[in-house]
């Protein structure tokens, strides 16, 4: 079996385990059973193992990191999101329930990648740069941070509607949403800075108003507004959660929709 085929099989194994983990999280939320949250966490960890092996095989076969073509981009984004979720939810058990946002988002991204053509693609000259690694690593960390923040916000909105005993955890959940949105914001900032320096090394200009650059700036400004609102205008609770969801939809559009709608220099990684 070639490394490529083995990688695809391992990817499907990871998707299956992530789906099972999602089911556990959904059941935990529906039947209010804490023990299922733990099972969901372990299933996600079990999924991360074949997922890591699949990405390592892919790296070995292509000779470059998983950042070319939809298949690699989706898969590595999902890997970072799941890893970040596992680490942070271990440290902060109250965040475990956010798994019912992070896990489905991850397996959906992976499945979308698997249904595109997973053939090998080589790096074109402009992408053969150290800055590419920094730029993409921080983009993925930003996606992971934002996904956890969104998970916390959705959890907030659901628990707020349910009321009862769970309502006591709402203020802390709201703060966690803000904290992870802050992490996402830092990583988005570093990604943008690395991209600007790289653009200057390649084309002799930091900023060219390319559609992805522009929408990345718009997303950054909106996340900045959200954090400003929290800090200075007292945006809290449901209002902050809805604003964050709006920012998230926009960041999704920036990363996954804009490359298809506009002719962009960044389209190369997503063809």
């Amino acid at each position: 079996m070639t490394p490529l085929k083995a990688g695809i099989l391992l990817h499907w194994a990871a998707v299956t385990l992530y789906i099972l983990s999602t089911v556990a999280y959904a059941a935990a939320a529906t039947f209010s059973r804490e023990s299922l949250l733990k099972k969901g966490w372990w299933l996600a960890l079990a999924g991360l193992l074949p997922h890591s092996a699949a990405l390592a095989l892919r790296w070995y076969a292509t000779g470059h990191g998983p950042y070319m073509a939809k298949y690699e981009v989706f898969s590595s984004n999902a890997w970072v999101a799941v890893l970040m979720f596992l680490v942070f939810s271990k440290k902060i058990p109250r965040l475990r329930a956010a798994g019912y946002v992070v896990l489905p988002a991850s397996f959906l991204m992976m499945t979308a990648g698997l249904f595109t053509s997973p053939e090998l693609r080589f790096l074109p000259p402009s992408l053969r740069s150290f800055w590419l690694v920094l730029h993409t690593v921080f983009a993925k960390l930003a996606v992971g941070g934002i996904l956890i923040a969104v998970g916390a916000s959705i959890l907030y909105l659901v628990r707020e509607r349910k009321g009862g005993a769970e309502a006591a955890s709402l203020p802390a959940l709201d703060d966690y949403a803000g904290r992870f949105a802050g992490f996402g914001f830092i990583f988005w900032t570093i990604m943008t800075a690395a991209g600007a320096i790289w653009a200057n090394e390649t084309w002799g200009r930091y900023w060219g108003w390319d559609p992805i650059e522009t929408w990345s700036l718009i997303t950054w400004l909106l996340f900045g507004s959200y954090l400003h609102g929290r800090r200075s205008l007292g945006w809290r609770g449901g209002k902050a959660a809805w604003v964050l969801l709006g920012c998230f939809v926009l960041s999704l559009a920036t990363v996954f929709v804009i490359p298809f709608v506009f002719d962009t220099l960044h389209g190369e990684y997503f063809r």
Partner: protein, 431 residues
């Protein structure tokens, strides 16, 4: 005015307005990066919106006065905010020499708090103050200062940057004169762009992956100065070359230059160079066309440097030409590399085929400022969110239990939880 500058609503409004302008620029065709065909189609389909967009500068948003004003206003608000934030941080430092409050059981309390990363601050109104992640306090001013530097650098670059593009055939020399640039894109306050050195294009280098996708390309050049020997250098994608304040970049445009010699029945031979754009993969021909000066001929050329990749029989490079004169085809077929063909009453031969490369020359004195700004943004954001400043106040009524109060932090609800945990911990110790 001061109220307007310090209001968080002003900052939010400016961020929203800049985001809205960027959003508009994505959907309204921008003259700088739309083809004339797109602009022409817009003008004929909707003359009214086209005219309106022109009046409001919506077709060139990023260079419009109102957008520049918006960014400048953001810069002013930032500058004011940075000043206030630094003043706040510095005043905190100035007070750090004051003696810390002394109280019974201080050691136990300090130990409980230092285990959580807190250290004692100078006294404040009878309370003991403790703070964790003190460098995090500088995060916000440093981040905003970085943003301010980026905006200032962007304005300076916009105003003073000098940028020129030149196409050089192998063997050609660019002598640095402003007139020799094919296109120039200077800032409104920049003077003529004179490059302080000459440059000879020696060789275009291309490398491909096994599947035919381009792997790398670059230009081997010699820098020629009035004194001294030529200095060789390789300028390739992602590897620009800096010399005497000017950076030379490899542009994505390169290809083959086909030099054709045309001999009229009663006249001398005339030589012209046609620059053909390279194809995405080496198995496809480089193409291009232009008129032949001094004649009525219009040439369209296709050049395949390595025909062996597509045919078992043809090994040599292949050049195909289609020549029209007044709309009538006068020649259509291959042109041998070492022979002549008839084009109308004239004869045509290939004089040379060489590589050509596009190079971009840039002089930007503000690069360091922009890099410093980006670096400060990253540092400030990291300080803010990875080391979030937290401050607690501990009141110690005589012989009573300590009351821990959250004073300052990005996540006040979590800080209140922590304060309650510390209170509970202290109570346990007392018991």
């Amino acid at each position: 005015m001061r109220k307007l500058l310090v209001s968080p609503r002003t900052a939010l409004a400016l961020m929203g307005a800049i985001a809205a302008a960027c959003c508009a620029a994505s959907f309204v065709p921008q003259i700088a990066d739309s083809s004339p065909a797109v602009i022409g189609a817009w003008r004929s389909a909707s003359p009214l919106t086209y005219r309106l967009a022109g009046v409001l500068r919506l077709d060139r948003i990023y260079t419009s006065p109102w957008f520049l004003l918006l960014v400048a206003a953001a810069g002013v608000v930032l500058a004011y905010s940075v000043r206030l934030q630094f003043r706040g941080c510095l005043s905190g430092l100035a007070g750090s020499g004051a003696p810390a409050v002394q109280f019974p059981g201080q050691g136990r309390l300090s130990a409980a708090l230092s285990a959580r990363g807190y250290s004692m601050l100078p006294a404040s109104a009878g309370e003991a103050r403790f703070a964790a992640n003190r460098p995090g306090r500088w995060g916000s001013p440093v981040f905003h200062l970085g943003l301010l530097l980026v905006i200032v650098a962007a304005f300076l670059t916009f105003a003073f940057q000098q940028r020129g593009f030149v196409q050089l055939i192998e063997g050609e020399v660019f002598d640095g004169a402003a007139a020799d640039f094919l296109t120039v894109n200077n800032g409104p306050l920049a003077g003529r762009f004179l490059v302080p050195f000459s440059l000879r294009m020696n060789k275009l280098e291309q490398a491909y992956w096994g599947n035919g996708q381009p792997r790398d390309f670059g230009s081997r050049v010699d820098f020629l100065e009035e004194s001294g020997r030529p200095a060789p250098a390789l300028i390739s994608v992602n590897n620009p070359f800096r010399r005497r304040g000017v950076t030379v970049y490899q542009s994505p445009y390169y290809g083959y230059s086909v030099s054709l010699a045309l001999k009229r029945p009663a006249g001398a031979e005339t030589l012209t160079h046609f620059l053909l754009d390279r194809a995405a993969v080496p198995s496809r021909p480089a193409v291009g066309g232009a008129d032949f000066p001094g004649t009525g001929y219009l040439f369209w050329l296709e050049f395949l440097p390595d025909a062996a990749g597509r045919s078992f029989f043809v090994k040599d490079p292949v050049l195909k030409a289609r020549v029209t004169e007044g709309g009538r085809v006068v020649f259509d077929g291959p042109v041998p590399m070492d022979g002549t063909v008839r084009v109308g009453a004239d004869s045509l031969r290939v004089a040379a085929v060489r590589g050509w490369s596009g190079l971009v020359f840039v002089r930007d004195r503000w690069q360091g400022l922009a890099y410093a700004g980006l670096g400060l943004c990253v540092l400030g954001a990291a300080l803010m969110f990875l080391l979030p400043y937290r401050e607690l106040a501990v009141a110690l009524p005589d012989a009573g239990e300590a009351v821990v109060r959250a004073v300052s932090g990005r996540e006040m609800d979590l800080l209140r939880e922590e304060a309650r945990d510390i209170e509970a911990e202290l109570k346990k110790w007392k018991e």
